[in-house]
Structure formats: C-alpha cells, structure tokens
C-alpha cells in the first residue's frame, strides 16, 4: 500500500452558487495525524464533510476535482456512500449522543452494519470504549443514557462510537472546542494512541492543539490550502506570510 492514503486533486466544493472549497491539492499519509488549522469559514469542516460525503446532505451540493481514498475516487457514482462513511468515522464539534443508553450509542453503528448477538456486541462496545478512553468511567453504568454524561465524556463516547464501526480513518471537527483542559488532554491522549491503527485528520481552532498532536499541519484560508508541512516547520518557519500572520494572531 502506498504511503499516501488520501489524495485530493483540484477539489472544489459548491453549495448552490456558493463556493466553499477552491481547487484543493492535499495528500494525507497513512497513520499520521494531519492537523488542519485556519480561521472560521476557511473551509476546514467542509473539507472533512467532503471526505465522507456528508456534504451530500446539503441542498445544492456539487463538487469538482477528485478525492481518492485508498486509490478510489469517492465521488464516482458507483461508490457506496454508506460503506465510505463506515470507513471514515467522524467526531463533531458538539458531542451529540443519541438519546439512548451508553451501550446502545456505541453499538449503534455496528448494529446498522448488521452486527448481531449479545456477546459480539458486548465485545465491540467494550473494546471501543477502552480505545476511546472511557471504559473505566462507564463500565458499571452502560445502561444509563448517553445524555447524562459530562461534555468531555460525551465526546469520548462519540469517539468510541465511531471506533465500533471499525473505520480506517478518523475525522475530527474541532473535537475539543467545548471542553475543559483536562477533557481535552484525555482526547489528545487517545488520539496519540489511535494513530498506530488509524489515519487521523484533526480540524482545530486551537493552533496549540495542532502543535501538540499533529504530525503535519495544513493551513486553510478562504476555502484554499495555503501550505502544508511537518508541524514543527509550520509553527517555527512557515513559508507563507499569511500562515505566519495567522499563527501570530494577526487575524482570524
């Protein structure tokens, strides 16, 4: 398998007459954490939702260019969107547990994929919660509602929930934007551990978070990619003046 897992070429995303992404070229390498930073409305989230085609749910969505994941153009008509979304798990900025028990939240995706049998579901739920770093805190109350957890726990529940679907990629859309520092640290710890088995794309408004966990960092601005490179280089010696300005807090 090639080192490049996701290959984006000249990719543009439109919603009706509005263009949100402009001719992106970007590679994502296998088993890396790619951080994406940039000011609000720079197209970071739209990019994530283009990867698992959640943008399809928005009226008037239209794309140009290609996104190839594991060598396959995901926008071809013969692509099974449901399969694609199972392969790319996504964690959103606001944790959204479904109104059901912790167990059922984690089991949801696996059930939808057709997994049956209490023993197998039990195993998947436990394994996912352990990887998501939540097992110890909830193992005695799997039957309580997911809505009763704290914000940080809910977000780790959402992480565990996608792991239960056995994805290969994890997309995180500002996963810690609403969390306290301790919860944030726990999520970041989980991500570092998960890197071994997954390719991770982390969109964040917190540039320091990218500096802490990302192997490489991309800077988005106005729907375009300004630059991408090893995190250390981006933060110490950015090639583009706009990156430098953003990191110094001159705008955004």
């Amino acid at each position: 398998m090639s080192d490049v897992a996701i290959e984006v070429r000249g990719f543009s995303q439109f919603f009706g007459a509005v263009q949100k992404l402009n001719a992106l070229d970007l590679d994502v390498r296998r088993n890396e954490i790619l951080g994406i930073i940039g000011p609000a409305r720079s197209g970071k989230s739209t990019f994530l939702c283009a990867l698992n085609r959640l943008n399809d749910l928005v009226r008037g969505s239209r794309v140009e260019g290609t996104i190839s994941i594991d060598g396959r153009d995901i926008n071809r008509p013969d692509v099974d969107v449901v399969e694609l979304r199972r392969k790319l798990g996504m964690v959103f900025a606001t944790p959204v547990p479904l109104p059901r028990s912790i167990f059922e939240n984690v089991a949801f995706g696996a059930r939808m994929a057709g997994l049956k049998g209490r023993a197998r579901l039990d195993a998947v739920v436990r394994d996912s919660l352990e990887r998501g770093g939540l097992w110890e805190e909830v193992k005695d109350r799997l039957g309580t509602s997911g809505l009763k957890l704290s914000g940080g726990q809910q977000q780790r529940l959402c992480l565990a929930r996608i792991l239960a679907v056995k994805p290969e990629y994890i997309l995180l859309d500002e996963p810690t934007s609403g969390l306290d520092p301790v919860s944030t640290m726990k999520i970041e710890d989980s991500l570092r551990k998960l890197k071994k088995d997954y390719t991770i794309i982390l969109v964040t408004n917190n540039t320091k978070q990218a500096a802490r966990v990302a192997d490489r960092t991309a800077f988005f601005l106005n729907g375009g990619l300004v630059e991408v490179g090893p995190t250390a280089d981006i933060f110490t010696a950015p090639q583009d003046k706009r990156t430098d300005d953003y990191l110094r807090g001159r705008f955004g």
């Binding site: 959640l54 749910l57 798990g89 959103f92 959204v96 479904l98 995706g109």
Partner: protein
C-alpha cells in the same frame, strides 16, 4: 394616559394571563361537571352492556359503544400509517420544493373543510358510488380522510423537531436513509406523533356529522365492517334532538367524555414512561 411602572405592569399582565387561564380551565371543568352531573346517575353496568331498546328510550348503549370503537379503530388504522408515511416523505425525502408545498397546502385545506362536507363526500363516494352502503367501512374511510391532515401536520412537526444533528450523526456512522428514519428519527419523534394520533382518536370518537351520513344510525349490534352502526355521538344527537330520552342522552355523553379523557390520560402515562426510557 400615564404609563404604568414596570412593576405594576408586570403585576397587571400576570393577573390578566392568570385570569385567561382560569377562564379556559373553568369552561372545560364546567362542561365536564355539567355532563357528568346529568349523565353519571344514568350510568350502570346495564347501561353499558345492554343494547338500546325502544329507539333508545330504554335499555343501554352497548351497540353504540361497539360501533364507535369499531369506526374509530378502522379510521385510525387507515389514517395513521398514511399520515405518518406522508409526513416522513415530506420531511425526510424531499428538499421542500414546490411539490411539497402544494401537498402541504392541500393537507391544510383539507383540515379546514367542515366535517359535514366530509360526510356528504363519504356518502356520495363510499355509500352510493362504491356501494359500501351505510356501514362501518364507509364511515371509517370517511373519518380517515378527515383525520389525515391533523396526523400529517402533527407528525411533520414532531419529525421536524428532531435535532438535525441526530441525522448527521446517524449518517456519519454509516446508516442508510431508511435506518436513520426508523432507528433515529422516528423514536425521537414518536411522542409527538402519538399525541397527534391520540387527538385524532378523540376527534373520531366525538365526530357526528361525518358519521351520520356514512355509517348510518342502526341500533343493532354490528356484525361486520359492512354493518351500519350508530356511534355514541350520533346516538346522543338523535336522543336529544328527537326528545327520546334526555337522561339517556346525557348518560351517553358522559360515557363519551370519560372515554376520551381515559384515552388521553392513558396515552400520556405511557408516553412519559417511553420518554423516560429513551432519554
């Protein structure tokens, strides 16, 4: 006029709103009290289990209870799946283009049509054209059409109030549209949908004009959906209108009101248990 101080203004507003609430609840309680005071003395086991005799002057109302239950049951059986299905289609499967607006507008117009017009329509279509005669079937079908707009409307509102994020999450976890609708959207919308259906049950039990034209007013115990039957509200109407027996009329009304209250209370009880289980 001098402006009132905000504190007094607040007090006046509060008193005003409190009075309005009191009037509303008061009228409701008065009606219930009025009917029950006249109706309850008539009620007995015999009144509930015996068939009417002598045009309803004596005997009970058993056949009309059966007729009402059968008619409402049939109407809900037809209207609930149709209405909820339409609501799901309108909210989940369309982008809200001109066609959906036309369907929605049509449903709303349907809701505004007086029930007697539905009765006439049912009489022409089901009773005479399709030759179902005065029957539970004709009445049930007519009633179903009458209830549809309410069920569509309330179900639509219930489905729309499910947070969009639930759908996004469901899709992102690799569910199909159908799985998302049935496993995520409908369970969350169920309390609202059921409320709409229960309101419709109440309405169908109380409906008079549409059923008198379509189900007729036979006093015999119905034996099939092709039997003509007299619902409780029609029975009440005929007893009171023709001066057959006012006491039996109020007895029937009391049963009607108790039935509707009972259904509402039971449903909200079950609904609360359901909501507790799922949140």
């Amino acid at each position: 006029m001098k402006r009132l101080g905000p504190r007094i203004e607040q007090k006046v507003a509060q008193a005003g709103l409190w009075t309005m609430t009191l009037v509303t609840v008061g009228v409701l309680l008065f009606i219930i009290f009025f009917i029950l005071r006249r109706g309850l003395p008539v009620l007995s086991l015999e009144f509930l289990t015996a068939n009417p005799a002598d045009m309803g002057k004596s005997g009970g109302i058993f056949s009309t209870i059966v007729g009402t239950a059968a008619l409402s049951f049939l109407a809900i059986l037809i209207a609930a799946p149709l209405g909820v299905g339409t609501a799901i289609y309108l909210t989940e499967y369309t982008w809200g283009g001109p066609l959906t607006r036309v369907i929605r507008f049509g449903a709303e117009c349907l809701a505004g049509i007086p029930s007697i017009i539905f009765g006439l329509f049912g009489f022409i279509l089901f009773v005479t054209k399709l030759k179902f005669g005065w029957s539970i079937l004709s009445g049930g079908l007519t009633m179903a059409f009458m209830l549809l707009p309410t069920i569509i409307r309330t179900s639509e509102e219930a489905i729309k109030s499910v947070p969009p994020a639930y759908r996004t999450v469901s899709f992102s976890l690799g569910s199909t549209k159908w799985q998302t609708v049935t496993r995520v959207v409908l369970p969350s919308a169920l309390p609202g949908i059921v409320t709409g259906i229960v309101l419709s049950v109440g309405r169908s039990i109380g409906e008079t004009a549409a059923t008198i034209f379509t189900a007729g007013s036979a006093l015999r115990l119905p034996t099939s959906i092709f039997s003509s039957t007299r619902t409780m509200s029609v029975h009440f109407y005929i007893l009171a209108r023709e001066g057959i027996s006012m006491s039996n009329a109020y007895g029937t009304a009391a049963v009607l009101i108790i039935a509707i209250l009972g259904i509402n209370i039971l449903t909200y009880y079950l609904m609360n248990r359901f909501i507790k289980k799922y949140s």
